[in-house]
């Protein structure tokens, strides 16, 4: 029966090619535009670490000026001071995975490799748990242990891309990298790792590349003068001549894994106690205002999905609606235009349900054709989006999930648009139309 309906549908499309094409184009435009926006939006609102996004928490402490908040209304700074991050890393209850970190940078070269150009490296200085906490995949070797954190061992973990550039992609564990006048031993090489958005540090852009290299945080302490901070440094009080590390400036991030609600409560109490203790030392003069945000909340706090994209998403659905209304109108005109045929079919014994099915099949076919063309348009749209934004390659692409959504949306939209016209046509009285003939 379906095959028969399909044949009728094809016949009908061919009989009125102009109107059919118009409807397909309308559906395709609606799907193309809305899918472009949906793709960008969903990838921006993507969960970068689905297995752990509920249990990883970013910590904020309100160490800001007693005279004004970091941000209205009473928002604490998004980063920590160096000393607070170190203190939390050291004193957080045993058994909790945690990492303190900061972005930094240096120039790295391979000693003795004359033909390899020195590379500017954007690096992350972090404590040992970083790799475990964020489930970072390794190609060779591994991260480091807490002992290396303690004695500021000169070790380095390379990203796959940097290992490619410096060592041609071979297993470089055990080799040396020269930074300034010192040598650093490679202990691990990462596999491809690109959480999108790059939730763990959003300061240099939510869709930035992951870092090129990773070193123990204690190394940054020793290289305060020559490495510097790659990211934002925010100060409410000018740092002294000793620089930003012992100052009240914030430039460090801190993450902790809290497996359940009880752990969250305990950790809150721990943070409050820490701040109360610091208050006695004359720091933290603002009212208690600590925050724990899991990955979802953290992406919200940092407004990773731009308002522009939400606005465009909303408008694109209105666009889709106009396209659908258009299709409903055209279908209605087309179906009612063939009332005579339907009258004959009904008089010859076709049931209402059959007539309804027949027309819905036709509409479904239109939906599929419109959906396929719409996907092509969405692909074009995303190419356009990539051209418009420099850093959107990662956000603007179609994956299988989105393709499935697009086809589903097109067929659903088509059927929705066809429901009323098909219902109208199956309600006609055969007698009326037979008479006018």
């Amino acid at each position: 029966m379906f095959a028969y309906h399909l044949r009728l549908a094809l016949l009908s499309l061919r009989r009125t090619p102009a109107v059919s094409l118009l409807m397909i184009v309308a559906i395709a435009l609606g799907i193309g535009v809305s899918m472009t926006m949906v793709s960008v939006y969903t990838l921006m609102a993507n969960d970068p670490i689905p297995e752990k996004s509920d249990v990883l928490y970013a910590v904020q402490l309100d160490s800001w000026s007693p005279d004004r908040p970091y941000d209205e209304p009473n928002e604490p700074p998004t980063q920590l001071t160096w000393r607070d991050a170190l203190a939390l890393a050291e004193r957080s209850p045993a058994g909790l995975k945690r990492t303190a970190m900061a972005g930094t940078g240096f120039v790295a070269e391979v000693p003795g490799a004359g033909d390899v150009r020195p590379e500017i490296v954007s690096a992350r200085a972090a404590t040992a748990d970083f790799f475990d906490l964020f489930q970072v995949p390794f190609l060779y070797g591994s991260g480091w242990d807490h002992g290396s954190d303690q004695d500021a061992a000169r070790i380095i973990v390379l990203s796959r891309a940097l290992n490619e550039k410096l060592f041609g992609g071979e297993d470089s564990v055990g080799r040396d990298v020269r930074i300034g006048s010192e040598f650093f031993r490679v202990v691990g090489v990462l596999d491809e790792w690109q959480p999108t958005p790059r939730f763990y540090d959003l300061n240099t852009g939510a869709f930035a590349d992951t870092d090129d290299a990773f070193v123990p945080l204690s190394l940054l302490d020793r290289h305060q003068q020559d490495w510097g901070i790659n990211g934002s440094v925010n100060c409410w009080q000018a740092p002294s001549a000793e620089g930003i590390f012992p100052s009240e400036c914030t430039f460090t991030q801190f993450w902790v894994e809290l497996p359940d609600e009880a752990a969250v409560q305990d950790y809150r109490a721990f943070l409050d106690a820490y701040v109360q203790e610091q208050k006695k030392l004359g720091r933290f003069q603002r009212p208690l205002n600590n925050r724990l945000s899991n990955v979802h909340e953290w992406l919200d706090v940092n407004e990773v999905v731009r308002d522009d994209n939400s606005v465009l998403l909303g408008l694109s659905f209105m666009f889709l609606m106009v396209c659908l209304l258009n299709t409903v109108g055209l279908l209605l005109a087309k179906f009612l235009g063939r009332s005579g045929d339907v009258g004959v079919r009904r008089a010859l014994g076709a049931s209402r349900a059959r007539v309804f099915q027949q027309h819905l099949t036709e509409v479904g076919l239109l939906g599929v054709l419109g959906g396929v063309l719409g996907l092509a348009l969405a692909w074009l749209g995303l190419m356009g989006v990539q051209r418009l934004y420099v850093d959107y390659e990662r956000v603007a692409h179609l994956n299988t999930e989105l393709v499935a959504i697009a086809i589903g949306l097109a067929v659903a939209a088509g059927l929705l648009a066809g429901l009323y016209p098909a219902w109208r046509i199956c309600r006609i009285q055969p007698a009326t139309y037979l008479k006018t003939q």
Binding site: V322, N326, G329, A333
Partner: protein
Amino acid sequence: MEIRPILSALMRNRTGAMLVALQIAITLAVLCNAAFIVQQRLAKMDRPSGYDEDNIVTVRVVTLDRKDRDAGRAGIAADLRALQGMPGVVAASATASVPFSNSGFGWGFQKTPRPDDPDVASTSLVLADEHALDAFGFELAAGRWFRPEEIIPVADFAEFGSTSAAAVVVTQALADQLFPDGNALGSTIYDSSSSRPVTIVGIVERAQGYFVNDTSFDNTAFTPIVLSGGEALFYVIRTRPGERAAVQRDVESVLLKADPRRIVRRVQSFGEIRAEAYQNDRAMTITLLTVSALLVAVTVLGIFGLMSFNVNRRRKQIGTRRALGARRIDVVRHFMLESWIITTAGAAVGLVLAVGLSVWLVNTFELPKLDWRYLPVGVVVLWVVGQLAAYGPARRASGIEPATATRSV
């Protein structure tokens, strides 16, 4: 022209007309709000920066080996001489970050040394040497630029944080915010994080800061400090008109000749930096314009489709009217008027939708409220579009022979 027969004809295909009217309503709502957002973004991108944008090249230099303060200073001076010597170069200057780059010092200045002074003016702080005025090409409105002996070399960021210059040059916008009465020149202001005093020695007409999305984008202050250790080093080079491209091409080799062991990055014209800074606004504008154009196209097709359908269905009636003495122009008028009525009904609903959409945008995204003048303009656009879409089918209707009335199908 009688409206009644048109209305009664319309009522015969209510659903079709209503569907098209609804399309027009949504189209109007989207069109008005999109046009309003586009206009705002265009205005934002159109703000003058104060720099000689067409003739500026900037470049970042990364040294592999950190230098001490004085060696660094000498190296920078040598670089600047080399750059200055390039054909077509007007001036070159060293700084630590480039305006419009979304990266640099966000600072605060206030009129009193009190740490709890509520009136802090947010500003971009630009490190500048004695050549910066010529290298950026902005206009001095009052006072003077820094003298060579005023420039303080500092080794690194740590030393920068604890150094304060005695003099500062501010933009007119910053001067006006701190001194609405206009006596900024010669006044003392205070760094809000350290309460250290500085004296305003010059006022620049206009020089926009680092962050294009900041409300205080026009507030910029220049401090006579050069970061000489190599931690963050940018050169700003201004060329004679028409010579920018050549300088941009050659600057890397000139800088590498002085020191082959360093890395030269981000050789950009100011236009490129500006385009990157405004890329979101530009993308939003282009996307909204594209969607609006497609939307109007779909709506035109909708009106066209409905009118064509109506013409086809009423061939007999049209023939009859023609046979009874209606002129071709009467038939054309009939359909044009019908389209106008549908458009107007849709637009009436659309006005409400447009305001509703604007309220949603204002409440959810803190966008500014829709300027009401966009509404009548939108209605006029749709009237024109509606008439154009209906003209083809109306012309076809007027070509129907009176004899059609006598045929049975």
